[in-house]
Structure formats: structure tokens, C-alpha cells
């Protein structure tokens, strides 16, 4: 297990290195100027600006400086947002994103597990049909459509929540629900399939034969065993959440990193785009690694075959 984890961490670092390198050179190739009014600037002014941001050095040297900076947690300085260091921009904006993301994943997986389990236990009844219907709706309708619908009915028509404002817990409810729909649907669907499998297995029959009530059997035996594979979908779900956060944060005007990312793209703010790209990738790679390790720890049967499959 130790060797497996070390190997995975090695690949993770390699991946991140490639991503950082690719992002750096892509940014250098990009059209458009980082300065807002380059047409109005004299060559002299551009030279001074280039010097200030280190853009006059050879590309290889710029790359070296950037990589060394990354190791120290320095993502460079934003071209657009008041010349703030990118790391500061990220640090001041990651709070709201994290809050909404965590709330969404807890709400989504929690309700999803519940919905999926109930659907499996009441298989082929109207409960199952309703649950499956909700799962398909949740999976199909894009999160920005959900966000807009929630905003229209709950915030605008009924006035229960602020429309687009970041001020305390009540303003985080609608974005959380909008983001939670996809994880909810995915979890419910996965949970149902797993639970149906588990409920058909011999040990469940044994548990029933021992005289456990149906609910005891489900709570003590079925639920635990069906939860194991559900762990694997947390990785892809985290990605969906990151992507979703960009648009949901925009719709509800939340000062998070998703909103920042979109803003940076529309303003050609290279250092911020690079910093956020690397941040997103790191979060993703780490989440996937943690999920893989957790999976091996939870279910020892998978550990061996899992590490073999890696080779």
C-alpha cells in the first residue's frame, strides 16, 4: 500500500508539472495584450511595463522564474485586478467557493444516498419510479438552468432568498441547491444500482434469516456495503462541482474563484488564469488520489487488484 501511494504521488507530481508547463507556454502563445490600452501606449511605456512584469526576459528564463515561484506558492501578479498577487486574489476568494462546494457535496451525496437506497428497497414501485424520474431530471437539466429557475421562483417571485448577493448563510442556499442537483442525481443512480445488487446477495439473505427486521438489515448490512463503490464517484463529482461553480457563482454574484476565473478569461489576465488552472488541476488530482487511497482502505479486496490494474 505504501509503495502504491508513493507511486501515485509521483505520477501526481509529474502530471501537475506537465500541466503547469503546458499552461505557461500556452499563455505565451496567446493572442491579445495583457495591457488594457496597448494601442495608446508608446513603445517606451510598453518597455517599462514589460520590465516591471518580467516580460522582457527570454521565455525560458520566465518559465524558470515562474516554476520556482510556484514551488513557493507564488503565482505571479495579476495584470488586471489592482496588481494584486494572484495568490492573494485566490486566498481572498476561495472561502465562498469552498463553502458552497462543500455544502453542495454534503447535501447532494446525502440526499442522493437516501433517494437511491429508498428506490432500491422499494424497487419497481411508484417510489422507485419517482426517484428515478428525479435522478434523470437532475442529471439532464444543466446546473445553470437550475440556478436560473431557483433564482426566478424562490428569490424573485417569492422573495425567500436574496437574488444575487453574498451575505451570510441565507445567500448560499440557492447556489448550493443548484450545484447539488447533479451530485444528487449521480449518487442516487449509483446507489440504487449498488443497493439492488447488495440486496440480492447471500449475506443479506442470511441477515434476514437470522431474524433482523428489513430496516435493520438495510441499516446494518446493505447500506454499508453499497456505500463503498459510491466513494469512487466523489472524484468526478468534485470536477463537476468546480465547473458548475463558475457559472453558478456568476449567476448569484458570489465572490468566489469560479467567478474570478471567468472574469480573468474575459480580461486576458494571464497570471490569474494560469494560477487558477493550476489550482483547479491540483485540487482535482488530489481529490482523485485521496478517493483512490480511501477506496483501498475501505475495501481491502480492491487494494490488490486495484494496484495491479495500475501497472
Amino acid at each position: 500500500m505504501g509503495k502504491y501511494i508513493l507511486k501515485r504521488i509521483g505520477y501526481m507530481i509529474l502530471t501537475l508539472f506537465i500541466i503547469a508547463t503546458a499552461t505557461f507556454f500556452l499563455m505565451k502563445l496567446m493572442p491579445g495584450s495583457p495591457y488594457a490600452n496597448q494601442a495608446k501606449m508608446t513603445t517606451e511605456q510598453i518597455k517599462i511595463m514589460d520590465q516591471q512584469y518580467g516580460l522582457n526576459k527570454p521565455i525560458v528564463q520566465q518559465y524558470w522564474i515562474y516554476m520556482i515561484g510556484l514551488l513557493h506558492g507564488d503565482f505571479g501578479t495579476s495584470f488586471q485586478f489592482n496588481n494584486q498577487p494572484v495568490s492573494y486574489l485566490i486566498a481572498s476568494r476561495i472561502g465562498p467557493s469552498m463553502q458552497i462546494g462543500l455544502q453542495a457535496i454534503i447535501l447532494g451525496t446525502g440526499l442522493g444516498i437516501l433517494l437511491g437506497a429508498i428506490a432500491a428497497i422499494r424497487k419497481n414501485t411508484w417510489v422507485d419510479t419517482v426517484a428515478t424520474f428525479f435522478a434523470i431530471i437532475g442529471r439532464s437539466i444543466p446546473n445553470f438552468v437550475f440556478a436560473v429557475i431557483l433564482q426566478f421562483f424562490l428569490a424573485f417571485k417569492l422573495g425567500l432568498f436574496p437574488i444575487a448577493l453574498w451575505d451570510g448563510f441565507s445567500s448560499s442556499i440557492l447556489p448550493t441547491i443548484a450545484l447539488a442537483m447533479a451530485p444528487l442525481a449521480t449518487t442516487a443512480r449509483f446507489m440504487r444500482t449498488e443497493m439492488v445488487d447488495v440486496l440480492n446477495s447471500d449475506y443479506i439473505e442470511l441477515a434476514r434469516a437470522k431474524g433482523n427486521s428489513p430496516w435493520q438489515t438495510v441499516a446494518k448490512h446493505a447500506l454499508r456495503n453499497s456505500l463503498i463503490p459510491v466513494v469512487t464517484i466523489i472524484g468526478p463529482m468534485a470536477v463537476d462541482l468546480m465547473v458548475g461553480s463558475m457559472v453558478v457563482e456568476n449567476i448569484f454574484s458570489i465572490p468566489g474563484i469560479g467567478e474570478q476565473f471567468v472574469k480573468s478569461i474575459t480580461t486576458n489576465d494571464y497570471p490569474t488564469i494560469m494560477g487558477l488552472t493550476i489550482l483547479y488541476s491540483t485540487m482535482l488530482v488530489v481529490v482523485i488520489l485521496i478517493v483512490d487511497i480511501l477506496y483501498g482502505l475501505i475495501d481491502p479486496r480492491i487494494r490488490l487488484s486495484g494496484s495491479e490494474a495500475q501497472n
Partner: protein
Amino acid sequence: MTDHSGKIQIKPASFKPVAAANVDEQEKISAPSLTFVQDALRRLRKNRAATVSLWLLLIIIMISVVSIWWTPSNPNAQNVAYANLPPKIGQGIPGFSGQANVGGRIVDKYAQAKVPKGTYFILGTDYLGRDLFSRLMKGVALSLLIGMLATLFDLVIGVPYGLISGWHGGRTDTIMQRIIEIISSIPNLVIVILMLLLFTPGLGSIVMAMGLTGWITMARLVRAETLTLKSQEYVLAARTLGESPIKIAIKHLIPNLSSTIIIQTMFSIPTAIFFEAFLSFIGIGIPAPNASLGTLLADGQKTFRFLPYQMWYPAAVISIIMIAFNLLADGLRDAFDPKTQE
């Protein structure tokens, strides 16, 4: 043969011995034998949700094919005099009468804008006076085009990549899988956004980004299946007889992979449609003035307090398309792989 209580009475006379000469006839299979695809289609037809989705999608596809040559009016033509007209199909049809509630009074917007009699905008107009129905038609056509291209990438890149990786195994496989791992550990959207920055935003760069990332899942599935198929006896036999790998792939592997391939393409279509709409919604997808479901929804969202109809129709259309594709994909999966259906 039932008595008054409804119970079945079986007497020795109920049984008739079969003539021994009829054995051959008994062994005959009376039902027509079905091929794999026929069997799958039969199962698909039984799935009501999938059938309805299929018909719905066929209608949508037909409408968008029509939109290539004909739309009720030019989708990009601006006419500020006719801006923000509500939907109108005819007089007195609720929701489609061309009237709007302005400050508590019902006003005929069409009369106010001096629209000539007989000119109707079925879904109204936007803030530049462009016909929303025509724009919606164009937007749907674009979404379907994106979906088609996603399928193309799945088939042209994903399938061969998976086949080669799985067939060769060893070092080739390791390297190819490592490449996939690296590509897939960059969030898909980040790649798309980097592509959009590198090339000018528009259909081309979205397609480019899809070409880089869209086929990954397909490649993975095909590789996994190839690994198991590779050691099947019939493949071994073909290899022993000296068949070339390309012929084995075409004659033995791809037919056996067909259900996986069909199902996966059906799932990548809605994913691609979602991505285009998403990018256009946040403003880095299809550039103005062209219509996409994402831009239509984003434009509608800006004014939803006063002109909610501009938001509802694009939202409804994209939701319907996504649900229909997902239901159809689910149906196809159950039809091609009955084992997954409990």
C-alpha cells in the same frame, strides 16, 4: 375445462399423446430468429420513455435541418423598433396574444410598436428586435451539430485509441494510458478555456477542445473491453491463422464492441451539448451575433424580471433536449445490455 368454482380440472382425458412422427416439427423454432440489433431494437421499442424521446429528437432534428435553409425571419437581423415584443400566435390565446402587463395595465405591445397586421413573432423578440423563434431554431441546430461532432471524435479518435492501447498492451499501453491520465486530470473545462484563449472564440475552438478531451471516456471503455476480448478463443484463433490486426479489429473486435460504442456515443452527445451551452452562457462560447442555446438563455436571464418569456423558452428547449438524449441513452443501454436492467 373449468368448473363452477373457477378451478382448473385436469383429467387424464386432458392429455393427448403426440404422434411420434411429429418430432421434427416440434423441434422447429416458430419465432423468427432475430439478429443482435433487431433484438436490441425490439427491447428499445418496449421502453416507452426511450421511444418518446427518440421521436421527440427526430422532430427536433428535422426542425433544425429545416433551419439550415429556412427560418421564419433572419435570426440575426436587428430591428430595434420591434424590440422586446412578447410572443404572439393569435388574438386571445393566453400567453401568446402579444399583450404584456405594463405597470398593471394590459397593453398590446404589437400595436404600440406599430407592427403591421399579420406579422407575428411566435416566441417574441429580444432586446434588439430579433425573432426569438428563429434564433432558437438556429441554436438547437448548433447544439445538434456539436453533438454530432462529439460522436465523430468518439468514433475517429476514441475507438482506435482504445483498440490500439488494449491490443498492444505492455509499454505502448502504459504510455497511452499515462497520456489519458494526464489529459483527464486537467479539468475538462480548463482545457476548453485554454483552447478558446489560444484560438478565437467560436465554433472552431470549441470543436478543437472537444477533439482534445471528448473521446477519453470512449477510449477507456474500448480499451477495457479490448483487453477481455483479446483473450477470447475466436480472437486467438484468428491470430493463430495469421489474420492481420486491422482485420481482426474490424471483423471481430468492433462488432463485439458495438453496443459499448453506441451507448457511449449516446452519452457523449448530451455532455457535448451541455458544454457548448455552458461556455456560451458564461460568454466564452459562440460569439455574437450568432445564436446558441447558452447565449439565448444568458440574454434572457439578464431581463428575467420584466421579460421572463425570453428566458423560459431557451431553458425549456435545452432541458427537453438533454432529458430526451439521456432517456434515449438509458434506453439503448438497457436494450443492448439487458443484464444491467434489474
